[in-house]
Amino acid sequence: MDKLLKERRHRLNEFKDYLGKKPASKHVEIPDGIYTKCPQCEGLVLSSHIKENMYVCPKCGRHMYISGHERLEQLFDNGKYKEYWSSMKTNDPLDFPDYDLKLEKAKKRTGMNDGVIVASGRIGHIKTVVVVMDNHFMMASMGTVAGEKITRAIEYATRKKRPLIIFSSSGGARMQEGIFSLMQMGKTCAALKRHMNAGLLYISYLTHPTTGGVTASFALLGDINIAEPGALIGFAGPRVIESTLRQKLPEGFQRSEFLVEHGFVDLIVERNKSRETLITLLHLHS
């Protein structure tokens, strides 16, 4: 048992490494007017071009980080939407050391109070509730604020009989809120069941990276699951698994294409086809 624990500790350490360092897309800063190096093909592209191209590398198609609000602007008709509950903040239920400082830093960096944005507006004329997880805010990990906002978004969609789209991207449950974070998984899924029972459409849109407690709650439960190309989607992080099994993982493990092959994602949609595809799907279900 001790050995197991040691191993587990080791694994989780690696997981931390992964969470802290991996998502290369997170660190691609795109200042206007200069060149940006694509983390995949290493090509140099004018930053303004990348932005125009919805943060997809025009050379290799790599889907890089796009902020939540930019995504919403590109998605809604005329870029217009209403945001909800943006001022919600956590009460830090565990009174966790230095958590307030971390939150403050994330807020300064992103201008948001949490990594979850809830929006409502029209997409192809159809009133739709949209949730976006912006992983520039503490990896968009799910604490009580994320859980509450997502739950309210789902309940709002159910009440108004509207379709729901959730763009997932998350490091999983927010450690600093402990068990309260874990419980958000149950809370969001319970709300989702009521949305489903009402015969309403839920499209889960998985983006890079979606792991842990978000993967294991609402992210794979869509009537339709869509993924962006090459996104990492899994429960346990690849390094955790690799170090547990002490063997190389198969090529493309836990990437969008792998999830299609294994039956968990319906379709992979490139970002520039996103709005068009969603409009078709919303209309097919309206």
Partner: protein
Amino acid sequence: MSLKEKEKKIKELEEKLQRIKNDPDLIDAVEGKRIEDTITRYKEHTYSSLSAYDRVYLARKSERPHIKEYIANLFDDFIEMHGDRFFKDDQAIVGGIGYFNHLPVTVIGHQKGRNLDDNMKCQFGMASPDGYRKAMRLIKQAEKFNRPIITFVDTPGAYPGIEAEENGIGEAIGQSLMLLSDVTVPVIVFVVGEGGSGGALAISIGDHIAMLENAVYSVLSPEGFASILWKDTKGERVGEACEVMKMTAKDLYEAHIIDEIIPEALGGVHKDPALTYRKIRQVITEQLDALVRVSKKDLLNRRYAKFRKIGDYRG
């Protein structure tokens, strides 16, 4: 001194006492009694001042009763059901039907092994998607036949492996959460050992959540927690993590995450399982008695509200 070391000391003292007692030349009755009292006081002191870390140590003890013992001692005519009807029969989850008193119930729980062979078979209680899908099959069956569901939670977490990811461990846990949140029969949950992460939560959505005195329940193991948040790879801050995570029964009761604490014998449930079985039996009796009277609609609304309200935010 860690609880492990204290327990070692207690064991040595008790063995010594036993040897003394068995040798009439060495001791008279009065002195024996005095030594015995000393040991008892030391035990009482030890177990009445347990740290969260100590609880984690106790919660993981392999001597604790496992699902099969709970089943054998609480239910009659139990028949175990196997398989998810898709892929496999995952031994990390045990499920079946039996009587509680004279009422048929469905019982589901994690299974940890006691020896290495069993551990391998049931992956140390870490379930794969097939395990949660077996559980879901039995939950739907319970709903069809209007049988209350009783779950026993004891897992370090879901299994982290290639096949588990291939077969959608995340999807399976999510589906399980969704299903239990809306199943029209009473669900009573007992966290009896380690309640680790999404793998524990997947069968812990219920109408009444009880937790054994020394059980723990957390978003992640304290080792993982210390490692992720404090880059503590040597386990130096695990004890601190246990405290800050608020993962003991008492912490969770105070945070309104669980509804009830089930007492254990001094030193842990394994020292006198019968005591804990009696208490669990009483909880099931009371809860079933109350829950079967509730309309299905109210049952679901209350369960929804129970989880809906968990959070701590402002604005």
